[in-house]
Symmetry: C2
Amino acid sequence: MAEASGDIQTLIDLLARLPGLGPRSARRAVLLMLKKRGQVMAPLAQAMAEVALKARDCVRCGNIGDADLCDICRNEKRANGEICVVEDVADLWAMERGRAFGGRYHVLGGTLSALDAVGPEDLRIPALIDRVSDEGVSEVILALNATVDGQTTAHYIAERLEGRVRVTSLAQGVPVGGELDYLDDGTIGAALRARRSV
Amino acid sequence: MAEASGDIQTLIDLLARLPGLGPRSARRAVLLMLKKRGQVMAPLAQAMAEVALKARDCVRCGNIGDADLCDICRNEKRANGEICVVEDVADLWAMERGRAFGGRYHVLGGTLSALDAVGPEDLRIPALIDRVSDEGVSEVILALNATVDGQTTAHYIAERLEGRVRVTSLAQGVPVGGELDYLDDGTIGAALRARRSV
């Protein structure tokens, strides 16, 4: 499907590899960029080159930022003794969008998995244990995905930290705005077991 | 939703403006790029900067290329006396993917529209009339969209070229692989009127 000239086709092929974009939407995106070369294409290319150059993993928490320590680890207001453990930077961003957590994070970089031979040393679990001793942490909140691997990882971390710090995990229940009729049975069961008096 | 650090958020916002991408998929795309900075992000930024710098409209046909004349206008094998008139570069690419046309193109850059006050002088119609006299054209194929504006534009061009050159348009009928049950009534009617003996 090499209908566009060389350079343009290269750009389409590269864009089409991004998640959520296929060849069709990559073509549409490139056409829009070509029509608005100055306003869209040049700034986008520059922003991308800049991030590619500057972005690095935070040495403390594993978040992505533009320095050795990420924005959150540099922000002293967030040193409230709480660490929220997430699987991935995407999950950290999701937590931040929730605007409910004021502490710091620890990004594991995955979950334990017997199938994929991922052990504690492959994740950033030892670094988490060190942080709990070093930083005067009062609570570790496990915000891992409600999948089998996520829950296995949560159990493992809870065991390792037992007796050293308060370990909590996100509540399970009916999502805000959720309709019971559309929820899976497991969620309804969990919400019932965790029922609260009104 | 400024959950990522400054530069990264700028990149997400710029990407989210592309057609087919929203904030959600832009975030996912940026996360993938951040994970594969070397293999994905740097080449993409470079390809984009290169195209932004080089891309220009072909002075003859309006296609996008990397020189004053596009690849197709430079290719002497395609000077077969046929010009295919399309609305947009996207349509030109679609025709090229069909691999059925061996001539050259003329990109109008839109359609006539009374509502949006687009007249013949706003499109590349005068340039098309000139090309028909100058280039020894034997046939003009109108490959305009089957919309009201597209068909109005086709009629106008056909009238202007009447008696000077053979003017044809794409056949209307059942799409290849199409099922009658799912086709709109207009298409079925058009296919019936244009029926051929087997």
